[in-house]
């Protein structure tokens, strides 16, 4: 396995299978991670609200969900999503993609809820006190004073969650969802050149995540300039 053979194999594989990697694989990976982050953010916000709510049972329930999700391997969660969720919903046909996406959304929501909660709690208590003493009620304080400041803490971390999700979705290839890692499985199953295919998808994943984190960095600097 010399370096030259690996390089020439990579060129050969890319020449023949570039469409599988760059179009199909990248497309599904981006779609899946975008869906995951979007819905994860919505559900995560709900989780965060529940965590900070004044109703104890709600708080407990969400805490249990978040702790279980954060404390178990994501592969296990995908298995549960793929095999158990469709059985819990026998009245509707859940597609493979949907069931995997649901599992990923719940996983992402658990992490996002922590991001949001810490983002809100990072806003100095004095801000709340000042707003309240100026006569704003609880809801107004949250919406007008705390949240606008919290968003600045939250957005960059959400971006990072997106970057992480791009990589995490690779586990969905266990069920041949069609993401980039599935392309890898398909091509290596055909060519038996595992290392070369691995290097190709590795490079693509890096380009995706690096570009994205650079964009997030850019956005973060713009947010800062408004301070």
């Amino acid at each position: 396995m010399s370096f030259e053979t690996i390089c020439s194999n990579i060129v050969k594989i890319m020449g023949e299978y570039w469409y599988i990697f760059l179009v199909k694989g990248v497309g599904i990976t981006l779609l899946l991670s975008a869906i995951t982050v979007a819905f994860g953010a919505i559900l995560g916000s709900l989780f965060a609200l529940a965590k900070m709510s004044r109703i104890p049972p709600l708080r407990w329930l969400v805490n249990i969900i978040v702790e279980v999700v954060r404390g178990t391997p994501i592969l296990l969660q995908l298995y549960i999503g793929y095999f158990i969720v469709p059985q819990l919903l026998p009245f509707m046909e859940v597609s493979d993609f949907t069931s995997i996406a649901v599992a990923l959304v719940i996983n992402s929501a658990a992490y996002v809820s922590e991001i949001i909660r810490s983002g809100i709690q990072a806003v100095d208590r004095g801000q709340t006190e000042a707003a309240r003493s100026l006569g704003l009620n609880g809801g107004q304080t949250m919406l007008r004073v705390v949240l606008p400041q919290a968003v600045k803490n939250i957005l960059p971390a959400l971006g990072n969650e997106f970057v992480t999700m791009i990589k995490e979705t690779s586990l969905a290839s266990t069920f041949y969802i069609g993401d980039l890692m599935t392309s890898y499985l398909a091509v290596k199953g055909r060519t038996y050149l595992a290392l070369e295919c691995q290097l190709i998808v590795g490079a693509i994943y890096f380009v995706l995540t690096f570009t994205l984190s650079k964009l997030i960095g850019l956005y973060e600097r713009r947010l800062k300039s408004h301070d």
Binding site: M1, Y17, I20, K24, F39, I42, L43, L46, Y79, Y82, F83, I84, P86, Q87, M92, E93, V94, S95, D96, F97, T98, V102, G139, T174, F175, Y176, L185, A186, V187, K188, G189, R190, T191, Y192, L193, A194, L195, Q198
Partner: protein
């Protein structure tokens, strides 16, 4: 605020419902792990359901046609295929499964179906420089042999290789091949047909010269069916018998090999001179299934 939350929940539910499509014609769902040329693999030039090709896919189509159902293939990793049948999320798993005792305990296994030399011969492959250097199991003592986890080859390695031989399970055969090529392990146990596919794509790998002794019940493949589904078991067995009677197996296997890019007949190595077509008569599926029942 509550209204907003309610709206979001409704929106999410409707999204989830998009996946719900009421279908009229019955669908036969089959799990397989498409990383096992020529039995099942992905034709990268196609997409959707058409991309899954190989012997087992042809068999799945045949069964679906016979039962008057539409076929839906669900691709997943080899171990997930077994979970899928167990949980009932698919009807069948057809993924080059061999008969093993543990599987017989946990699943309904169909009668045997014939898959050419892919199953009748179980071999060990190694790097090209050691081609043919192994003739007995003892030659592997002190070495590390890789195999696919939870497979027939794993059973064979554990039962036939010497105790001081390290057996290293891998999630996928390709990972074992990679370990072999990078010198981390010394050899890999695979089915013969699979070995041909690997060697055809890789100059640096060759047959070791060693072949496992394969018991009659392990020489053929079986279809995995959820325990308790007697009707489906009977249907599948009827289909298998029909395919056998019509002599379809050998044709399917040759087609699958051609698709996988394996040089056929003349190229096949060692004592495999016997041509493919009569080979089927030599291993009648019915007969071996009777043997299996007696065990």
């Amino acid at each position: 605020m509550k209204k907003i939350i309610a709206m979001i929940l409704v929106a999410m539910l409707t999204m989830a419902c998009f996946g719900a499509v009421a279908e009229e014609k019955k669908v036969l769902t089959v799990a397989l792990s498409p990383d096992f040329a020529p039995m099942e693999f992905i034709d990268t030039s196609k997409s959707g359901q058409d991309q899954y090709v190989g012997f087992d896919v042809t068999l799945a189509k045949f069964i679906a046609d016979e039962l008057g159902m539409d076929l839906e293939i669900k691709a997943m990793s080899f171990d997930a295929c077994q979970t899928a049948v167990q949980t009932g999320s698919v009807d069948l798993a057809i993924s080059g499964f061999s008969w093993t005792e543990a599987r017989a305990e946990n699943f309904y296994l169909s009668d045997y179906y014939y898959a050419g030399d892919n199953e009748t011969e179980q071999v060990i492959i190694t790097t090209a420089d050691k081609a043919g250097a192994f003739s007995t199991a003892d030659d592997f003592s002190g070495l590390t042999v890789g195999c696919q986890d939870a497979s027939l080859q794993a059973d064979l390695c554990n039962s036939q290789l010497p105790t001081d031989c390290t057996i290293k399970p891998f999630k996928a055969i390709d990972d074992a091949i990679l370990s072999l090529m990078s010198g981390k392990i010394d050899a890999v146990a695979v089915a013969k047909g699979n070995a041909d596919a690997i060697i055809a794509n890789n100059d640096s790998i060759a047959l070791s010269g060693f072949e496992f002794e394969v018991s009659a019940e392990a020489q053929n493949n079986v279809v995995l069916i959820q325990k308790g589904n007697d009707e489906l078991l009977a249907n599948v067995n009827a289909c298998l018998a029909k395919a056998y009677d019509q002599g379809l197996y050998a044709v399917w296997y040759e087609d699958a090999k051609a698709l996988a890019g394996i040089e056929t007949a003349a190229e096949v190595t060692i004592e495999d001179e016997a041509t493919e077509a009569p080979a089927e008569e030599e291993t009648p599926a019915e007969e071996s299934s009777d043997e299996g029942a007696e065990d």
